[in-house]
């Protein structure tokens, strides 16, 4: 057999039937669901008189619209109905559901890996574009729409067209203070927000191999922000060590067999990619976005760009609109931009390593008095427990942060955690779209350590210069 990419291997292993037009029926091993994109799929199933094909592959959690304080009674009646609908659907069909009372509840893309529900070699779907996160484990993981959720419920498969292979090599050592978040923002800045459309992106190279699983998840999480439905990282010892002993990871002789199989989950030497991008890790400075698309990103020591320098008229107009929306003038140094709120959380950056990085910056420091609200929202109940066991919550609270219950929170503001119109936020989340964190709110994406540093300074700051 000719050399194959990791994506080729994952695809080949899941083809139930190939069709003449190049599409294929692909088997799905893990189906994660949450309250927002599942109710219509359950209803469709019911109306058609169908049952789920394999309920043991489905795991549910409530994350998108859950409050992060006072969770005993949910005030918003519409949110409450959605949460109750998920609970009722799961109960009726005997689907595992981590509800708000369960310490395993949390952001769907955080709890899957944490529980060992998402394993190398699997196909993993969820009605959520950031399902790409799980690709960090050498699994083919991607977001789907609600019709596909229903299709997967009913058939355990999806009809898919194979994507093309894109490899992003990141070689060398990262500079001090530079994290996985900076890598992925930099990559999006290079290839653009549609640069990965139609591709699966494999992140490779020594800088990726040196990352923890948390860092790899951050990379793959934002593959979708480069337009790719799925991101991938090859399996290595770091992957194996992370999974060993997780509640749903195989055990005993099954573990041995699985580990052997998983070690082949990497692109073969000589495998051909449709496109390759090479980036020197040492060239990546800490990043911060200035506009309303993740590709609108500059180094922390850079300035807001000038649309006049953009040759393409459609792009120039987009930049002008973004500047107007963000309330920024071209040429302004990013370090001169003041912030109103800080959000540390989301499926991109709410894992234990992210909280440790932020806490290291905040230890012995205080949030600037000009910052109206600084929030830390752990990715899951277990991340929260771990952080509390390490005393991180005390550092956050002493610095002036609010320490909240797990959920998606201000990443998309479906719950009460939102920006007010015109407010500017340093956010560790993944999307700086107009209105994403609240109507007319202004979002700047950056790493947890950089968000913590901005909280202390009251404006964006190069963490490497923080005294």
């Amino acid at each position: 057999m000719s050399p194959r990419t990791l994506y080729d291997k994952l695809w080949d292993a899941h083809v139930v039937r190939a069709f003449a037009d190049g599409s294929a029926l692909i088997y799905i091993d893990r189906h994660l669901i949450h309250e927002v994109t599942s109710p219509q799929a359950f209803e469709g199933l019911r109306l058609a008189g169908r049952r789920p094909w394999r309920t043991d592959t489905i795991v549910a959690t409530s994350d998108h619209n859950v409050p992060t304080v006072n969770r005993q009674s949910i005030e918003d009646p519409i949110s409450r109905v959605q949460l109750e609908t998920l609970a009722a659907n799961c109960k009726a069909l005997e689907i595992t559901h981590y509800d708000l009372a369960d310490p395993r509840q949390g952001i769907v893309h955080v709890i899957g890996p944490e529980q060992g529900l998402c394993l190398p070699g699997m196909t993993i779907v969820c009605g959520d574009s950031h399902t790409s996160t799980n690709g960090a484990f050498g699994a083919l993981a991607f977001g789907i729409g609600t019709s596909e959720v229903e299709h997967c419920f009913a058939t355990q498969t999806l009809v898919l067209h194979k994507a093309r292979n894109l490899c992003v090599h990141i070689e060398g050592e990262l500079g001090p203070g530079v994290t996985a978040k900076d890598i992925v923002l930099y990559v999006i800045g290079v290839i653009g927000t549609a640069g990965g459309t139609g591709f699966t992106i494999e992140f490779a190279g020594s800088a990726v191999r040196a990352l923890s699983m948390e860092g790899r998840m951050t990379l793959c999480n934002m593959a979708i922000e480069a337009g790719a439905r799925a991101g991938l990282v090859a399996v290595d010892q770091t992957t194996i060590d992370y999974l060993r002993g997780r509640p749903h990871a195989p055990q005993g002789t099954l573990w041995q067999a699985a580990e052997t199989a998983w070690r082949d989950l990497r692109s073969d030497a000589g495998a051909v990619f449709d496109r390759e991008v090479c980036i020197a890790a040492g060239d990546i400075p800490p990043q911060v976005t200035w506009g309303t698309s993740p590709e609108m990103v500059v180094p922390i020591d850079g300035c807001v760009p000038d649309p006049a320098d953009e040759a393409d008229p459609v792009r120039r107009q987009g930049m002008q609109r973004a500047l107007e929306y963000m309330g920024l003038a071209a040429g302004t140094p990013m370090r001169a931009v003041n912030i109103d709120k800080v959000f540390i959380g989301s499926c991109t950056n709410s894992r234990i390593e992210d909280l440790r990085a932020a806490a290291r910056v905040l230890d012995g420091r205080r949030v600037a008095s000009s910052v109206r609200l600084a929030l830390v929202v752990p990715g899951s109940g277990l991340v929260k427990q771990q952080a509390e066991a390490e005393g991180l919550h005390e550092i956050f609270i002493a610095a002036g942060f609010e320490w909240r219950e797990p959920g998606c929170s201000m990443c998309l503001g479906m719950n009460p955690d939102q920006l007010a119109p015109g407010e500017r936020c340093a956010s560790t989340s993944n999307r700086n779209f107009e209105g994403r964190q609240g109507p007319r709110g202004r979002t700047h994406l950056l790493s947890p350590a950089m968000a913590a540093a901005a909280a202390v300074a009251g404006h964006f700051v190069d963490l490497r210069e923080l005294a």
């Binding site: 039937r17 037009d21 599409s23 029926l25 091993d29 927002v36 994109t37 109710p39 219509q40 209803e43 058609a48 094909w53 043991d56 998108h64 519409i78 949110s79 109905v81 959605q82 394993l119 070699g121 009605g127 959520d128 574009s129 977001g143 789907i144 729409g145 609600t146 019709s147 596909e148 229903e150 009913a154 058939t155 355990q156 498969t157 009809v159 927000t193 549609a194 459309t197 139609g198 337009g227 439905r229 749903h248 195989p250 099954l254 573990w255 067999a257 199989a261 698309s293 459609v314 107009q317 987009g318 609109r321 998309l412 479906m414 999307r431 779209f433 107009e434 209105g435 994403r436 109507p439």
Partner: protein, 213 residues
Amino acid sequence: MQPFTRIEGLVAPLDRPNVDTDAIIPKQFLKSIRRSGFGPNLFDEWRYLDVGQPDADQSARVLNPDFVLNLPRYQGASVLLCRENFGCGSSREHAPWAIADFGIRALIAPSYADIFFSNCCKNGLLPVVLPADVVDELFRAVAATPGYRLTVDLTTSEVRTPEGQVHGFNFNPALRERLLQGLDDIGATLAYAADIRAYEERRRQEAPWLFGR
């Protein structure tokens, strides 16, 4: 699913690249557990001057008179002309639900985000891809010609202009067939139930840990 064969309709232009699904239908409306009723909140933050809430009376909202879909000349549009990477971001199928509920039957753009494209096809909303220069030309024609209409014909895979120009477009044959006939995807897949079971048996031997509990 509502089949798509051919429509002839008024064209509205949305002249922005990278329109994301958060802009198409903001998060507060995703709390609904239904598939319908999203049309009044399509492009909510651009379309209205006040902030929309899912339980509020939509008829009392303050329209943004400058937003293109509020202009009298585009009322009743069924074709939306868009720029590159339309529908990027969140996988929410509420985006095509809102567009279809508003009355749009076909989109024309140089490119779409992958998940959004797939979601459109599941809802009888046709995402036509035309080259960027042709789309540019159409934007100019729409701006210059009040009441500009196009025919979008999936039976021939063509967009036809009032001036008689014909722009052919590519569409995956299997997807095209499903859209033309409004087929139920799940029913079609369940015809392969025996293949799915055979795959499971084979896979259970290779990777038994995937069939644990």
